[in-house]
Amino acid sequence: MSGGTGESRIPAAFESEPAFVPYLAAGDPTFEASLAYVEALERAGADVIELGLPFSEPIAEGPTIQQAVVRSLDGGMTVERYFEFVAALDVDVPLVCMTYYNLIYQYGDEEGPEPFVERAAAEGIDGFVVPDLPAEEAGPLRAACDAHGRDLVSIVAPTTRDDRLQRLVDLSSGYLYVQARLGVTGARASVSDRTTESLARVAETGTDLPRAVGFGISSFEQARDVIAAGADGAIVGSALVDIVAEGHAEDRPPEETAAELEALGRELKEGALAAAEPEASQAD
């Protein structure tokens, strides 16, 4: 594990080319297999990895990720084990901890999020996405991130009006997580018009934060299309978790599942890159 307590490495990850940002729940379905899966995604070309710390009440997740959370918790995942997991990971890309606020809030002896951020930073976490923490409640976590040189990634929803959008832009660092459509996480067939509209609205704020689009991306074409629509990265969760779930259900060897993850990861990364090539985006 190459992280540490320096500055977040996230901004650099979006500089050179369209980013592929995969999500997996840490420890799904076991500690060891999950390490192999995350490492496979780095090999596939991941630029940033969102690493879920499972919470018992995942109110913003669809059934796919909810089941991943259950598998991970059933496999013995705890906050301490999560940090051990991060420490044990052999990847070089930036890591974003995706979890719910209560786990951050409860950690350590002091009140508030600072102890969690400090520990996470020490283990190599570069930033945080917290789905149940809107701008209204994010002050303490933002302060802790600042104190430890970490990024706080906010989610921009299709329903986010302009006044809220500006507030989120002001609050965030690292990148903006642009929610492709209403609903919860989960793979879908096509990319909605609202994605294009959301990206345009973010652009109008004048922010230079990278925008990564998530919710429903599962294929080369979708990854290509969101980049073509103006995104700087494609976030993919449920489509990858589906592979983990299937491997678990079918009792496949972890290396087989890892290979599948790597293959889909490559396809998605190529989709993201394809949009950057002028011919590909014109042909669409």
Partner: protein, 420 residues
């Protein structure tokens, strides 16, 4: 939106615009009576719901405890519990807001049935999410919702109980938030829900004040209510902690007791992450659950524990943030009684007063029995009879059969069949 350190709005960004819109509607319609909203609410909760509910003296309990015990009869509200106050209020508010559809979650089915009734009454399409296991355990309530025309959508994931139903309803709302209102069933969730739900239940408290003055010429010395999420609790407490009516004199002298479900024991099985009780005010710690900072049953990591109570309506790992704050401030006493005491009280109220209470309510009734000297509670004690027990008959008899309760009735009248 805060009650001391408690409360707040811990929800996904996608929902925040709807929460802001709801906050605005709450302030205008509920607090400001814009377009006569509250007038219509009061008319409908009277003509459709049956307000005011009566408050009557419990003759035999009064004699038993050496103090004047009065019962506030929310069990007589349409649907059989206080729940309709809130369901009707929010459904009407959704209509004023131009929403076209209602969603709600339900565990044991009480909030779902109240919501289905209110939605039918106001001609609003309505979808209720309910865990698969709960559906199969609570068939009469599923019947009632379907008969009232609500869609009942089984939630197949996980244990198939309330927690999964809440998640699924959140998902629906996150997808349909522009046209749909989510009716939360207790004084929990993000602001403005805790305040709004309390205000729709506020008539309980206002009536209790008026009826106390009519019945015995002054306010009671103590008010006792069961607390799960806490909607009936804050319903009957609200005018004593934050009086809005014309006669606030003396409210500070009224002692308020929130009786939680002690379950089988107050101890927590940290290893298994299970709390064999639902006493989050008494034994929980500060945390963030379902949109608000409040007292929560959680492990040291912050993972929410499985709670337990013989009463499914109290079986919840959190509690309303306002109630958590009132306990912290010392205005409300958090107490608790265990499953056995609640079941004994279920039978006691049924036998001595002719009122079969909900198992939730039985906890409030049990507190007097558990008290060393109930007369120390004061000369006049009001218990909030939050709901009727018809929904709990089978559960109560099954639970009774496995215990050694001195006042349990024999069921040998049946012809060699099981309890159901």
């Amino acid at each position: 939106g805060k009650f001391g350190d408690y409360g707040g709005q811990y929800v996904p960004e996608a929902l925040m615009p709807a929460i802001e819109e709801l906050t605005d509607a709450y302030e205008r319609y509920v607090l400001g009576n814009e377009d006569g909203f509250m007038d219509e609410f009061r008319r409908r909760i009277r003509d459709f719901g049956g307000r005011p509910t009566p408050m009557g003296r419990a003759d035999q309990l009064s004699e038993r405890y050496g103090t004047e015990v009065y019962l506030k009869r929310e069990d007589l509200l349409h649907g059989g519990a206080h729940k309709l106050n809130n369901a009707l209020g929010q459904c009407l508010l959704a209509k004023y807001m131009g929403k076209e559809r209602i969603v709600a979650e339900t565990g044991a089915g009480q909030h779902g049935t109240a919501t289905a009734m209110a939605a039918a009454h106001l001609d609003m399409p309505c979808e209720i999410y309910m865990g698969r296991r709960d559906i199969n355990r609570q068939r009469p309530n599923v019947f009632r919702m379907r008969i009232n025309g609500a869609e009942v959508t089984p939630v197949e994931v996980g244990r198939g109980t309330l927690k999964e139903a809440i998640n699924e309803t959140m998902r629906d709302w996150a997808t349909t938030v522009e046209t749909t209102h989510y009716i939360i069933g207790s004084i929990v969730g993000p602001h403005p829900f805790p305040s709004m739900v309390r205000d729709f239940h506020r008539p309980i408290s206002a009536e209790t004040k008026r009826q106390s003055r009519e019945a015995f010429g002054r306010l009671p010395d103590a008010v006792v209510a069961c607390a799960g999420g806490g909607s009936n609790t804050m319903g009957i407490f609200s005018e004593f902690v934050d009086p809005r009516d014309s006669d606030p004199e003396g409210v500070d002298d009224v002692d308020l007791y929130a009786v939680e479900a002690g379950g089988s024991t107050l101890d927590v099985d940290e290893e298994r992450g299970v709390a064999p009780n639902s006493a989050s005010l008494s034994t929980g710690t500060e945390g963030v659950l379902h949109g608000a900072r409040t007292k929560v049953l959680q492990d040291t990591d912050g993972q929410i524990m499985e709670s337990h109570s013989v009463s499914s309506g109290l079986d919840y790992a959190g509690v309303g943030p306002e109630l958590a704050n009132l306990v912290e401030e010392g205005r409300v006493d958090a107490v608790n009684v265990d499953d056995d005491a609640a079941l004994a009280a279920f039978h006691r109220l049924s036998q001595t007063e002719g009122i079969i209470p909900a198992l939730e309510t039985a906890h409030a009734v049990a507190y007097l029995e558990q008290h060393d000297d109930p007369s120390e509670l004061g000369e006049y004690v009001v218990i909030n009879v939050s709901g009727r027990g018809d929904k709990d008959l089978a559960a109560a008899m099954e639970e009774t059969a496995g215990r050694d309760l001195p006042n349990a009735p024999e069921m040998d009248v049946f012809d060699g069949e099981g309890l159901r």
